[in-house]
């Protein structure tokens, strides 16, 4: 791990949603920097914008103001197609709702993620996906559809999918929220281990004190307030 390498940098980032009557600030970050290989816990109360921030970092959302740089490149300046390719290759994302494709098996869910990134040679993709599912203890569930798996097993598939393309940035949104303690720790250990071995940056959002205590760096988000159009909110990362 090269601790001096600046991988991700957020400056004056705001995400606002507007309707007829008001502007709702979903998240506001003055400055945040992450280095390559760093493991960070993102904490904050419900509604503080953790998920929105992860969506912004992954390029799924573009900020209303400010900029997010990945290896020095401003994400919002990239054409959308480039951002799609970048996300496929460089970002592994475990969503809060897991978001496994219900019509595909565990193995196919991994293969789909690989097909968009094309990081792993085609011939090796199936073997690599099987190997990864084996590592998370699902070697006998490759052909099972998500509804045939327990919540813990689904979470492990989602975790395997997030690391399948060996991404340089792994985002995990409350990865242990729907799991019992044992399964939660298993998934977290797996992510941390993988990130450590591959030198990936890991950002885990959580409100679980036991989880956050495992991280050396904790960033906390305050709940932003709703403001009338024209007013500003200041929501700082601690």
């Amino acid at each position: 791990m090269d601790g001096d390498e600046k991988m991700l940098e957020l400056n004056q980032v705001r995400k606002e949603y507007r309707d007829v009557l008001q502007t709702i600030t979903a998240v506001a970050v003055e400055h945040l920097m992450m280095q390559t290989g760093e493991q960070i816990a993102l904490v904050g109360p419900s509604g503080s914008g953790k998920t929105t921030l992860l969506h912004l970092i992954s390029g799924l959302l573009t900020p209303t103001a400010g900029e997010i740089k990945f290896n020095g490149i401003v994400l919002s300046s990239m054409p959308e197609t480039w951002r799609d390719t970048w996300r496929a290759k460089a970002v592994g994302y475990i969503f809060q709702k897991l978001n496994l494709l219900s019509s595909l098996t565990a193995l196919e869910n991994l293969l789909v993620a690989m097909s968009f990134a094309n990081v792993i040679p085609k011939k090796e993709q199936r073997q690599w996906a099987s190997q990864l599912l084996d590592q998370v203890g699902l070697s006998d569930k490759l052909g099972k559809f998500p509804h045939q798996l327990s919540m813990g097993e689904q979470q492990r598939v989602a975790a395997a999918r997030a690391v399948i393309n060996k991404p340089s940035l792994i985002l995990a949104d409350e990865p242990t929220a729907s799991l019992d303690q044992d399964n939660g720790l298993l998934v977290l250990d797996m992510l941390r281990q993988f990130a450590k071995e591959s030198g990936s940056t890991l950002v885990v959002s959580t409100h679980d004190r036991q989880i956050m205590n495992q991280f050396e760096r904790i960033c906390s988000l305050r709940k932003p307030s709703e403001e009338v159009i024209g007013s500003a909110t200041s929501n700082r990362l601690a």
């Binding site: 929105t52 969506h55 992954s58 799924l60 959302l61 959308e80 197609t81 799609d84 390719t85 970048w86 996300r87 496929a88 290759k89 970002v91 994302y93 969503f95 709702k97 978001n99 496994l100 494709l101 219900s102 019509s103 595909l104 196919e108 293969l111 789909v112 993620a113 097909s115 968009f116 990134a117 999918r161």
Partner: protein
């Protein structure tokens, strides 16, 4: 992989996918039936007239003459004298003249009195005889019968079987005393004459002389030579096209009979029916447009129903092209499946209608693939795929984050 995703997406929502396929299939089937029926009826009627270059019959409605002579339906207008037949036979413009006599039936199947030369009649030179034997031989003496393929099958008649004819055109008339013996069974001609029972014309004359005598309460003593013989119609084959036109002109002077071109009568009949057919077609087109709109909406709804899956794909890094490929593959699969089922169903329904038409009207509609169906298949498929384009564009432009 994109095709697999599309296929699995469809399988994952069987009711939605099934309903979409059903709507597409129903629309295409309707379109196919309307087109097949229109084309098949026209071709079937025209084909039925092919063996009849020219027909001579009593003065009256040409339509009735065609219906009676070609389609073995309706009652004859009347008879023409045997002299006209003899004159035509000797006319140098005529290649062959074959007499036809109607008036009897066997269990509802028309008995056609004719000469044995009807079996050597070639509608078009080099294309073989119109009536060919599946079994047996031509009749050679009165009260021998050659039975059409369908009549033989449905009446269960075999070589050597005997039957008595009845007077008139529908079952239940007075039965004649003479007994016919089946000496030949014809191959199918895919036309009304499959339902005919052909007998020597002399048999009709003899049976009717006796019938008339009986009706008058006289003793049934026959002397066919003393009775004036008549024919109901004459099937005339001219030597060529110009001969046909000259013959037609010559025949305009004839007071006791008319000469018609059956194909021309059918075309005229179509032009008369054209307005009604056009109206039916217009109604069909309106229904089809509505069907296509429902089909487009169904494909659109089906595609929109998978928004979350597409959002996940976008989140995994799927490009616009990937999403387009998946949505279009889904729409294409739904549409192609619907189109294939629709075409097969359309042909199935059409075949049933062909059978119904055949049994009710003796008109054999043509079947098989027609060129218009290619347009239906291509048009229907493109329309369905295009319907999928709208949600493809919408999905790409939408905020995927809110579905994750």
């Amino acid at each position: 992989m994109r095709l697999l995703i599309a296929w699995r997406n469809l399988l994952a929502k069987p009711v939605q996918s099934g309903l979409t396929v059903l709507i597409v299939a129903a629309t295409i089937a309707m379109l196919a039936v309307v087109t097949l029926l229109s084309t098949g009826t026209h071709a079937g009627l025209v084909r039925a007239t092919e063996p009849f270059d020219l027909i001579v019959g009593a003065k009256g409605s040409p339509n009735q003459l065609v219906l009676n002579t070609v389609f073995l339906k309706d009652v004859p207008i009347g008879n023409v004298s045997h002299e006209i037949y003899e004159k035509l036979s000797e006319n140098p413009l005529v290649a062959s003249a074959i007499p036809l006599a109607f008036g009897d039936n066997y269990k509802g199947y028309t008995i056609v009195g004719s000469g044995s030369d009807i079996f050597s009649h070639e509608p078009k030179v080099g294309q073989g005889q119109w009536l060919q034997f599946a079994a047996g031989r031509s009749f050679s003496v009165p009260f021998e019968a050659v039975v059409g393929a369908k009549a033989a099958q449905e009446l269960g008649l075999k070589l050597g079987d005997e039957f008595k004819s009845a007077h008139g055109f529908i079952p239940g008339g007075d039965t004649h005393d003479h007994v016919y013996q089946v000496v030949g069974i014809l191959q199918s001609v895919n036309g009304p004459y499959d339902q005919a029972v052909l007998v020597p014309i002399e048999s009709i004359w003899l049976a009717h002389e006796k019938h008339e005598s009986k009706a008058e309460g006289e003793v049934a003593i026959e002397d066919s030579h003393e009775h004036e013989h008549e024919v109901t119609a004459i099937l005339v084959k001219p030597k060529g096209y110009s001969e046909a036109m000259r013959l037609y002109q010559q025949f305009q002077q004839e007071k006791g009979a008319q000469m018609i071109f059956p194909a021309q009568v059918i075309v005229q009949l179509f032009s008369i029916l054209g307005q009604g057919e056009q109206m039916l077609r217009s109604i069909a087109y309106v229904i089809i447009v509505m069907g296509l709109m429902i089909m487009a909406l169904s494909v659109y709804w089906s595609a929109l129903g998978r928004v979350r899956d597409r959002s996940i794909l976008r989140a995994l890094g799927a490009s616009a092209r990937d999403i387009f490929t998946v949505i279009l593959a889904e729409s294409a699969l739904l549409t192609i499946l619907g189109v294939v089922i629709g075409i097969l169903t359309g042909h199935g329904i059409y075949l049933v209608l062909v059978k119904v038409m055949e049994s009710k009207t003796a008109i054999v509609l043509t079947s098989g693939v027609i060129p218009e169906e290619i347009y239906i298949v291509i048009g229907g498929t493109l329309f369905g795929i295009l319907a999928g384009l709208i949600p493809a564009v919408l999905t790409y432009k939408m905020d995927v984050a809110k579905y994750l």
